[in-house]
Symmetry: C2
Subunit: 515 residues, 2 copies
C-alpha cells in the first residue's frame, strides 16, 4: 500500500527557497480567517425575501425528487412533507422550520492538531484546496491523470501553507488506485500527512461509513458523538433531485453526528434557468430540502448550506467561471444563509482555463474576491483549480495560495487604531518629506502590507536579469521547494499502525473494482 | 506631422475576427456604466468621520505647501487660509466648506459625438485607458519606447471598444516627438481618431492652455464656457505639496470652466505612512486643499476628487499593486467623496508585472473589482497598464477590456424582474429535466451571461487542437484585427483643416525641445 511509505523531508535552497522562508516567517498563523469586515450585501432585504418566497413556492408546488431512497421518503413524510411516489413537497415554510429548529448556527470542525480546529459559520472563513479533479498539471510534465503521489503532494502543500486552513477531500483523484478502495488511501493520507481537518468519502454510503470508522479509530470511539471531525460534500442532482448515493452518504455522516455540506451544483442555463436570481432561487430550494433531510436524520447534526453556481457559454454549452452572474448568485445566497442561520459554502478560485495564464487568474480573482466580501464560511476550491475542475494545477495551487494570503489581509478591513490612523506620523513629518525612515514606518515595516512570495515587483531590468520569468515559472520553483522541505506532523505510532492494519484488512476483504 | 496622415481602415478575418464581430454584435453600447448596485461600504460611518477629522487636523496644524505659485498663495489667503511662506493652513472645516459651497456634485463631460458624452458622479462609472507609460509592449516586438503610432493605436482601440467610455489622455508617451510639442499631436489624435471624451495636457500651464485653445477651435469659442469638454489629471506632490506646474495647469483649465481631477498619487510607506487609514487620511487632506484651490480659481468649475494609492515592497521599495491595502484605501475614500459630494476617481487594472501573466491578471482583477463595487466614478488605467505604469501592453489592453465588459454586467446587480426570477421556468420544468431548450432559456439566450471574446471555455482537447493558446496569444490576434478594421469617425473637414493649420503654425513658432 502506497500510504505505508513513511513521509520524508529534505532541505533545499535558492531564491524561491528564500522567498518561501520569508513567507513562512511573516505569515501570521491562524486556524481560519476571522473577518472584521461586515459581509457585503448586494441584494436588498426585499429582493432576498422574494428569493425565499419563490424557493418556498417551488418546494410547495413542484417539490423535490428523493430518488432510490425509500427510507428518506419515509423520513420526509414523518417530518410533515407530502410524499407522492419519489416526489417530496414541503408545505410552505416547513423546510425552513425544520432547519431552523435544530441545525446549529455555527460549529467547530475538529482537527487532529487542536490548534488547527476550524470554526464554521459567523465571522469565520475557512479556505480549503480544490476538490475532485481526475487530472493534474505542472509545468514540467503537463497534464496527466492524478495519482496517489499527487494526492499526497497536495495534502502536503495544504498542510504547509499558512493560507489554507483545511486539508480538503479529493484534492485530486488517485486514478492509479481502484475506485472502490481509493477512499482508504485518501482518508489515510489526510490523517497521516496533515493534521488539519479533512473531508470524507461520499461516492458510496459504505465508503462514508468507512470514513466514519477510520475517524473513530483515530479520534476515539465516542469522540465523534461529541464533536464534528469530518466534513463531507453532498451534491444535489439539479434540478430538484437528491439521489440515493448522496442521500445515503449524508445519512451515514449525520447519524454519526458528522458535518455535511448540502450543495446544489448548478451550471445555470442547463441545470437551472439562465438567470442569476433563478439559479439562486432553485439552489435555495434544493439546499433547504437537503438540509431538512439531514435534520430529520439526526436533529442537531451539523450541516452547511452549499452553493456551486457557474454560468455557461450559451454557444457551446461549456461551463464558464469568474463571470459576473455567479458572483451575484453568491452574494444573494450568502445573505440567504445568514437569514436562515446556517454556515455557507461557496466560491473559490474557479476558472475554465486549461493553464495558469491571465484568463485563469482573472477568473479566479473574480470568484475569490466576492467569496471573501460576501462572507462565505467554507471555501472549497480555494487553490489549484483549473479547467472547470478537471485538473488540479501545481503552479495554479501556489499562485492561488498567494491570493488566499491576500484575502487574510483584506478580511481584516481598515485598521483604525491610533497606529493605523497614523495621524502623528503625518503631522510630525510635514510637507515634502518622505516616510521611509520615520519611526512609524519602521514600527510597521514587517506587517504594513501583504507580502507576496510569488509576485515579481522588481524593475523591468532586474526582472530581465533574473530570467524574465512569468508567474508560473516562479510558482514552479516554490511548490518543489515546499515539497522538498516537507516533514510530516507527529502521530502516535501505535495509532498509525492500528489504522494501517485496519485498512489492509478491509482492502483484503473484497476484490478491487473500478466501478 | 504624423497626425496629418489620414486614418485608414481595412478588413480581416479568422477566428479572432469572428470573436470580435460577435462581441460587437452582443455588447450593449452605453456611454458609461450606470450602476444599479448600491456602493459597497467597508468602513463604518464612525470610521469615515475619524478620517475626515484627522484630515482636517492635518490641514489645520501642518497645512499644505503650494510651491512656486505666488498667485495661488494669494488666492488661498483670499479664501480664508492662513498663509505662511508657501505653507497654507486651513481653519478646521474651511477646505470642505469651500468645496461644498460651489463644486458641482455631478457633471457631464461632453464628447465630439454627443452619444458619447459621459456623466461624472452619482451612479455613473466611466472607464478610461491607462495613462502615462513611456513604454509599450506587445507579444511580437516585446517592450520598446512608445511612439505616436502606438498612441494612435490605443486611441483607435479605445474608440472601437464598447467597454471603455473615454479616450483617455497620455495613453502612452509618444517618445518619438519632442517633449515640448507632443501634446499637440496627442490632443489632435484624441480629437480626430476618436469621438469619445478625452483628457488634456498638464505638463506645463501653456500646454494646458494649448489644449483649451484647440478645444475652442473644435467645439466653438463659447462652448467651453457652458460645458466641460476636457478632463485633466492634476497630481499632488505628496506628502502635502502642490507644485507650480500642476497648480498652473489646473488654473488654466478651471479658468476655462474645464474639469480637473485633483489626485494625490501616493506610494504608501514612502509618500504617506505605511498604513491604509494613514494613506487615506493624507489623500483626503491633499485632495481637499487642491479642490478648494480650484473652487477659488473659479467657483463652480467641475472638479473630481482623485486618489491613486499603491502599497510598496518594504524590502525593495518597489511599488506593489492589486494588494489588499490599496483596495481598503479605495473603499474608504470613495465613501469620503460621497460624503463630500464630489465625483471620485480611483482604481483601474493595476499591476507590477512586466507581462500579462497570471500575476498581472490577479493584481488587475483585485484592483478593478473593488473599483466597481466601491462606486468609483472615473476609472483611469482601466485597460493596458503593466509594470507599475511604465508600459502600456497591447495584449494586456485587450484582456482588460474583457474585464471592463464584465464589470458592466456586475454593476447591473441582480435582476429581480419576473424574467430574472424565472419562477415559472423552474415550476414548469420539474425535477431532473435540463433547461437547455426551454422557452425561458431560449428567450434569454443572447443576454443571459456576459460573453467574453478572449476567454477559452472549450474542452482541453479542443483547446489543444486549436494550438494550446494562452490568453495572451488570443488577445494578440484580437487587437490586430481591431486595428485592421478601424475606420475613423466622421469629422467636419474644414474644422479638421483649421485645427491642423493652427497646430502647424504653433509648432513652427518655437524650437523643438526635449525639456
Amino acid at each position: 500500500m502506497s500510504t505505508t511509505d513513511a513521509p520524508r523531508g529534505r532541505r533545499s535552497g535558492g531564491r524561491a527557497g528564500r522567498q518561501a522562508a520569508r513567507l513562512a516567517a511573516v505569515a501570521e498563523k491562524v486556524p481560519f480567517i476571522t473577518r472584521s469586515l461586515t459581509p457585503v450585501e448586494l441584494v436588498s432585504e426585499e429582493g432576498l425575501a422574494t428569493i425565499e418566497h419563490n424557493a418556498d413556492t417551488i418546494l410547495e408546488t413542484v417539490g423535490i425528487d428523493f430518488r432510490g431512497a425509500p427510507d428518506a421518503l419515509e423520513l420526509m413524510r414523518s417530518g410533515g412533507c407530502d410524499v407522492d411516489g419519489e416526489r417530496v413537497r414541503f408545505p410552505r415554510g416547513l423546510a425552513r422550520q425544520l432547519v431552523q429548529a435544530t441545525a446549529p448556527r455555527e460549529f467547530d470542525q475538529h482537527a487532529r492538531n487542536p490548534a488547527n480546529t476550524v470554526h464554521l459559520g459567523g465571522t469565520a472563513t475557512v479556505l480549503a484546496p480544490a476538490y475532485g479533479s481526475p487530472f493534474v498539471r505542472d509545468l514540467d510534465e503537463g497534464r496527466r491523470y492524478g495519482t496517489i503521489e499527487d494526492f499526497q503532494n497536495f495534502v502536503k502543500l495544504s498542510y504547509l501553507t499558512p493560507y489554507l486552513h483545511h486539508s480538503g477531500g479529493t484534492v485530486c483523484e488517485p486514478v492509479d488506485l481502484p475506485v472502490n478502495k481509493r477512499h482508504y488511501d485518501m482518508v489515510y493520507t489526510h490523517m497521516r500527512y496533515s493534521d488539519k481537518p479533512f473531508m470524507g468519502s461520499v461516492t458510496h454510503p459504505l465508503r462514508a461509513q468507512d470514513t466514519v470508522d477510520m475517524a473513530r479509530l483515530l479520534f476515539g470511539e465516542d469522540a465523534l458523538e461529541e464533536r464534528a471531525y469530518i466534513l463531507s460534500l453532498i451534491n444535489a442532482n439539479s434540478p430538484l433531485v437528491w439521489d440515493t448515493v448522496m442521500l445515503g452518504a449524508a445519512k451515514a455522516y449525520a447519524e454519526a453526528n458528522q458535518a455535511v455540506i448540502m450543495t446544489p451544483f448548478i451550471l445555470a442555463g442547463a441545470m437551472s434557468p439562465a438567470t442569476a436570481a433563478g439559479a439562486a432561487t432553485q439552489t435555495l430550494a434544493e439546499a433547504l430540502a437537503g438540509m431538512a433531510y439531514v435534520q430529520l436524520v439526526r436533529p442537531g447534526a451539523p450541516v452547511v448550506f452549499g452553493s456551486f453556481a457557474s454560468s455557461m457559454s450559451m454557444q457551446s454549452g461549456a461551463p464558464t467561471f469568474g463571470t459576473p452572474e455567479p458572483a451575484l448568485v453568491l452574494f444573494a445566497l450568502a445573505a440567504c444563509a445568514r437569514r436562515l442561520g446556517v454556515p455557507f459554502r461557496s466560491g473559490g478560485s474557479l476558472t475554465a482555463s486549461k493553464i495558469a495564464d491571465a484568463q485563469a487568474a482573472y477568473e479566479s480573482a473574480n470568484t475569490l474576491q466576492p467569496t471573501i466580501l460576501a462572507g462565505v464560511n467554507f471555501v472549497l476550491h480555494a487553490a489549484g483549480w483549473l479547467e472547470g475542475g478537471l485538473a488540479m494545477g501545481y503552479e495554479k495551487f501556489i499562485l492561488d495560495l498567494d491570493q488566499c494570503g491576500q484575502m487574510h489581509a483584506l478580511a481584516k478591513g481598515l485598521d483604525l487604531s491610533p497606529n493605523g490612523q497614523a495621524l502623528d506620523a503625518i503631522v510630525e513629518n510635514g510637507p515634502g518629506q518622505h516616510f521611509l525612515g520615520t519611526a512609524h514606518t519602521l514600527a510597521n515595516f514587517e506587517t504594513a502590507f501583504y507580502r507576496s512570495n510569488v509576485a515579481d515587483n522588481e524593475s523591468f531590468e532586474k526582472w530581465q536579469e533574473t530570467g524574465s520569468l512569468d508567474a508560473n515559472r516562479r510558482a514552479n520553483a516554490i511548490w518543489k521547494l515546499m515539497l522538498a522541505e516537507y516533514e510530516p506532523p507527529p502521530i502516535d505510532e501505535a495509532k498509525d499502525e492500528e489504522l494501517r492494519e485496519w485498512i489492509e484488512k478491509k482492502k483484503a476483504s473484497f476484490p478491487d473494482s473500478n466501478v
